[in-house]
C-alpha cells in the first residue's frame, strides 16, 4: 500500500519530486502568465478604482499564500515533532523565506494600491497590521533557524516556535481587531457568493491564485530538495573528515 508517509523517506521524496517538479513549475509559469496577462490587459477598468483594481491579481494571491505558507509550516512542524520525518522539518524551513516574500509582496502591492485609493501608503488597519506582525513572526522564525548550529535542535526549536507563534499570531489578529477599526474592504473572495467580486475579475483572479499556489509549491519543493542535498553534502564532508583524521 502506498501511503503519503512513504515520501518522508528522503530518497523517495527526491525521486518523486524530481519527476513532479518540472511539471509543477511549468504549470505555475503558465498559469501566472495567462492569469496576469488576462487580468492586466483583458479585463475592464473598475468604474471607481480605474486601472488600480488590477493590482488585485498580485495582492490577493500573495496575501493568501502568505498565510497558507505559515499554515503549511505549522503542519510540517507538527509532523516533525510527532513523527520525526526530516523531510518535513526541512520543508518547513524551506517554506519560510517563500512565505516572507509573499508577505512583503502583499504589503507592498497593498501600499501601492492604497496610495491613490485611500490617499495613504499605510494605515494601522487591522488587516494591514496583522500582516506586518505576521512578517515579524516570519523574521523571528528564520532568524532562529539561522542561529542554531545543530540541525535537529534547530528543527525542534523552530517547530515549537512555530506552534507557539501560531497561537500568538491568531491572538494578535483578534487583538488588533479589537484595537482599531478597519479601513480595508471585506473579503474579496468567499464561498458565500454574495460577497464576491464581479465575474470579469473573478476568473482571471482564480487563475492567478492557482498560479501563486503552484509557484509556492514549486519553490518549496525546490528549496526542500536543496536542503536535502545540503544535508547530504554535510554528511559526506563529515565522513571525509573522519577518514582523514
Amino acid at each position: 500500500m502506498a501511503s503519503i508517509w512513504e515520501y518522508a523517506n528522503p530518497l523517495k521524496f527526491m525521486r518523486l519530486t524530481d519527476r513532479v517538479l518540472p511539471w509543477v513549475s511549468v504549470l505555475a509559469a503558465a498559469s501566472l502568465v495567462i492569469g496576469l496577462i488576462w487580468g492586466f490587459f483583458f479585463t475592464p477598468d473598475d468604474y471607481r478604482q480605474g486601472s488600480t483594481v488590477k493590482i488585485i491579481y498580485l495582492h490577493v494571491p500573495s496575501a493568501l499564500m502568505a498565510i497558507n505558507a505559515w499554515f503549511m509550516m505549522l503542519v510540517a512542524s507538527l509532523i516533525w515533532l510527532i513523527r520525526r520525518h526530516h523531510v518535513s522539518a526541512l520543508a518547513a524551513k524551506a517554506a519560510a523565506p517563500v512565505g516572507v516574500v509573499m508577505t512583503v509582496i502583499a504589503l507592498l502591492t497593498g501600499a501601492i494600491w492604497g496610495q491613490p485609493m485611500w490617499g495613504t501608503w499605510w494605515a494601522w488597519d487591522p488587516r494591514l497590521t496583522s500582516f506586518l506582525i505576521l512578517f515579524l513572526f516570519y523574521l523571528g522564525y528564520i532568524a532562529l533557524w539561522e542561529a542554531i548550529e545543530d540541525a535537529d535542535t534547530a528543527a525542534d526549536l523552530t517547530a515549537v516556535l512555530c506552534l507557539v507563534g501560531s497561537v500568538f499570531a491568531v491572538l494578535s489578529r483578534y487583538a488588533v481587531n479589537f484595537w482599531n477599526q478597519g479601513l480595508h474592504q471585506g473579503a474579496s473572495l468567499s464561498l458565500d457568493k454574495e460577497e464576491n467580486v464581479a465575474d470579469v475579475f473573478y476568473l482571471p483572479l482564480l487563475v492567478c491564485i492557482a498560479g501563486f499556489v503552484l509557484l509556492f509549491l514549486s519553490l518549496v519543493l525546490l528549496r526542500t530538495r536543496t536542503e536535502i542535498r545540503l544535508r547530504r553534502t554535510k554528511a559526506l564532508i563529515a565522513r571525509e573528515g573522519m577518514a582523514d583524521a
Binding site: 506582525i133 532568524a143 532562529l144 542561529a147 515549537v160 500568538f168 494578535s172 483578534y174 487583538a175 479589537f178
Partner: protein
C-alpha cells in the same frame, strides 16, 4: 522550587543583576520621551499610558537573557535538570523570579513615572492594574523565548526579535486598559482579555519552556 526562587532573587538583587537596571532603564526611557515628542502636557498625557506600557515592556526585555544564560554557562542548568524538581517547575520558578525582580517593581514604579508624563488622574489605578495583570505574561513569554535561545552565543538581539512579536497581544490589551481607563471609557472587556492572555500564558508556557529546555540540554 522555593529554594530556587530565593536563589534567583538573591542573585538578581546582588551582583549587579537586572534588578536596579530595569528600573533605571524604565526611568530613562520615560524621561527621554518628552525630549522626543515635545513638552506639551496635553499630548504627553494622551500618550502616557502607551509610553509607560512600552517602557515597561522594553525594561522587561532587557533582563530576559539573564534568566537562563548564566545558569547555562556555569552548568547549573544541567544540575537543575537532573534535580528532583521537574523542569516545568524550574521554568515556572525562573519566570516567577523574573517577574518579582522586574514586573513587580515596574508596576509599582509606573504611577510615579506617570506623574512625569502628566497621566490623567483617572488613569493611575488602571495603569497599575493593567501592568499588574499583564507583566506576568511578559515574564513567562520571555522565559519561553529565553529557553529557546539558551544555547545561542550572544543571543540577546535574536531574543528581542523572537519575543517582541509574541508580546503584541499583551501590549495591545494592556495599553488599551490604561488608555481607556485614563480617558474614562469602558474598561472591563480589555481587562478580562488581558487577564485571559496572562492566565493562559502562565498556565501553559512553563510546560513549553521545559520542553524547549530539554531539547537544548539534549
Amino acid at each position: 522550587m522555593i529554594a530556587l526562587l530565593i536563589r534567583d532573587l538573591k542573585l538578581s538583587v546582588r551582583a549587579g543583576g537586572g534588578f536596579g537596571l530595569g528600573l533605571a532603564f524604565f526611568l530613562i526611557v520615560t524621561v527621554l520621551v518628552p525630549f522626543g515628542v515635545g513638552p506639551e502636557s496635553g499630548l504627553l498625557g494622551k500618550i502616557a499610558p502607551g509610553v509607560l506600557w512600552l517602557g515597561a515592556l522594553l525594561s522587561c526585555l532587557l533582563s530576559l537573557d539573564r534568566i537562563f544564560a548564566l545558569d547555562w554557562e556555569d552548568g547549573s542548568l544541567d544540575l537543575l535538570a537532573t534535580s528532583p524538581l521537574p523542569l516545568e517547575g524550574v521554568a515556572a520558578a525562573k519566570a516567577m523570579a523574573h517577574w518579582l525582580t522586574t514586573g513587580l517593581p515596574l508596576t509599582l514604579a509606573a504611577p510615579f513615572l506617570g506623574i512625569l508624563l502628566n497621566l490623567p488622574q483617572s488613569g493611575f489605578g488602571w495603569l497599575t492594574l493593567s501592568l499588574a495583570i499583564g507583566t506576568p505574561a511578559l515574564s513567562v513569554i520571555g522565559t519561553f523565548a529565553a529557553a529557546l535561545i539558551v544555547g545561542v552565543k550572544r543571543g540577546g538581539l535574536l531574543l528581542s526579535i523572537l519575543v517582541l512579536p509574541l508580546y503584541v497581544p499583551t501590549l495591545i490589551f494592556g495599553a488599551e486598559v490604561a488608555r481607556r481607563g485614563s480617558a474614562g471609557m469602558e474598561v472591563l472587556p480589555p481587562v478580562l482579555l488581558l487577564a485571559g492572555i496572562s492566565l493562559g500564558a502562565v498556565a501553559i508556557l512553563p510546560f513549553v519552556s521545559a520542553l524547549v529546555l530539554r531539547i537544548n540540554l539534549r
